[in-house]
Symmetry: none
Subunit: 156 residues, 2 copies
Amino acid sequence: MESKSSCIEKYILECMLNNDSIKLSRAELANRFNCSPSQINYVLSTRFTHDRGFLVQSKRGGSGCINLMKIVGSEESILSQIYTGLCDIKSISYNKSSDIIYRLVRDGIISDRESMIISASISDKSLMNADGIVANVRVNILISIILELSRRTVNE
Amino acid sequence: MESKSSCIEKYILECMLNNDSIKLSRAELANRFNCSPSQINYVLSTRFTHDRGFLVQSKRGGSGCINLMKIVGSEESILSQIYTGLCDIKSISYNKSSDIIYRLVRDGIISDRESMIISASISDKSLMNADGIVANVRVNILISIILELSRRTVNE
DNA sequence: ATATATTAAAGGTCAAAGATAGTCAAATTA
DNA sequence: TAATTTGACTATCTTTGACCTTTAATATAT
């Protein structure tokens, strides 16, 4: 017997057949499949991961919702490679980061100006307060940015 | 579904398209959108903040009204305003930061994409390792970026 | 006329209720 | 044992309502 989670996954995939981006209501889904709302989170976090080419964003509160996006386009694999690489490490130096940023510029994924913004945000100066964990924070910042860039490839 | 507050925000923004300053009637707005008057205050205080580059003044009593103004200025002066503001504080929340970024986009100082990169780099997720000093690190990142942007502005 | 009190017409504040979604760990199932 | 399911608790955003403050206009008293 197929698990409920798999059914939910299938259903969502069907919804995305003709859309690279859909809005979901967690409560509505949970209701439709007669499961707890948190199971929807479970499905999203196990089946709609970045590695599989998806991106999830959400808003709480009144008229909140979950935005599920499919990552498409030629940049996908490059970003995905970088993402995977970053997830495998706990910390990264400014210089090594610069290499990554350089590659993003070279491959036309980000502009010069964008590279400068990223460099500024992960500079030692920016992170000076993060005593001892500068390099860890830097990884997380890079990961967040890579995710955002992935989102961008969805939108156009 | 979009929240009523967002609709009201949009409406007000439209009214301001060709005016840096408009007069609003709280009661009239509440009536138009079929909401409680205090929801207008909510919209103003969450969407038309000073950080976003707006100024709200109001007068009570007979023929009272709300005066909503867009803070304008050259790119240089806006950046400098923001810089000064940031230097005065030791920490900043993600939401307040978002307001600043909103303003940078609104005033054409950064692109939408650039705003996404900045948001990603200062997100709680990015800074999660910075136990206890998340908001301090955030200020420093913003300052670094603003400085870089200023440098660019000057140089061309 | 002038000063003062009253009233009506704005707008403000704040906290509670409502509407979503997220997290995490325990219980269950395959 | 690993994957799934559930539920209690948390976080965030929106909407509403009761009560408060300010001001202009008007009525009233001198």
